[in-house]
Point group: C2
Chain length 197, copies 2
Amino acid sequence: MVRWEPGAKERLQAAALELFAERGFEQTTAAEIAQSVGLTERTFFRHFSDKREVLFYGQRQFLQAFADGADAAPPDASPLEVIASALRAAASLFPDEGRPYSRMRQSVIDQNPPLQEREQHKAAGLAATVAAALRARGIGEPAATLAAQSGATVFGIAFAQWIRDGETRSLAEIASDILGELLHLTNAATGPVRPGI
Amino acid sequence: MVRWEPGAKERLQAAALELFAERGFEQTTAAEIAQSVGLTERTFFRHFSDKREVLFYGQRQFLQAFADGADAAPPDASPLEVIASALRAAASLFPDEGRPYSRMRQSVIDQNPPLQEREQHKAAGLAATVAAALRARGIGEPAATLAAQSGATVFGIAFAQWIRDGETRSLAEIASDILGELLHLTNAATGPVRPGI
């Protein structure tokens, strides 16, 4: 018989993150995470396939938010308008009260190169998802991939800023500013760059 | 006594790539690669730290080309002009006669998720190198990181196109076209996007 543990997943996640931050990701076992909140290793593995999963299990929901945001843009939206809509939807997954959690998660990932590679792989998955959403709207290549990867870039820079010490703006606000910077950067450069390369 | 093997590194590299393509990366050992061209495993490890290194050893030179290209831009160049200069320098490392090699290398990487993660990590390293070169020119954040990541995006899309079957344009030509597409994409979008997000 499997006993239902109310809030077990959330407790395991919070405990895992604290142990990862304290001792390092490699030095922490699933059994230790479970024990620290009075649960068994078996309970841990009912919720997570492995300890890495604790850091990455929201990924499907994250990609879905981007795809849903892209789908929500009007049919005649330009590629970058679709990206803006996708960014808004993804940013809504990260309310300000989650900032301390995201900050701690990032510090664990920054200390572990394999986790960094996994995080970069996630960014590549994000770009692929958004590019597929753009192609489904009839946007051709390379515009779809370019716009999707630019969206992933904007999200990544905005997210890094959002978890910076002292930052108080919302993720949506920061993402909007960074997208504006990208437009400014490329607009400012038109003309001289094209013939140059 | 270590006997000098003329062209040993190149022979090992060519043999490795063929075996990886034929049998799969995981199924090929360093000893097998060496034996296939009449060399010893010891000779293999004098040239490469491991079999993965065969696919990635040019990385330092690749990053250096980007950085040198960025440095070669005039002092008053805009961020995207610096990127255009970096792309030209990097593209010159890939002459058309190397296309079949790059094609085969990519097919090996596409079949192996850990190699894909490594390749994405390389793209992240590229963006970090170029961002540092931009900051050294006095370009602030987030412009430096945005421009650098856009440059990595353009290079990645151009490279994928360059090794596509039937493609005959040079990498520099394709990169120039893709950079132009990025400018077009963002220019076309100005106005409606900014207030939207």
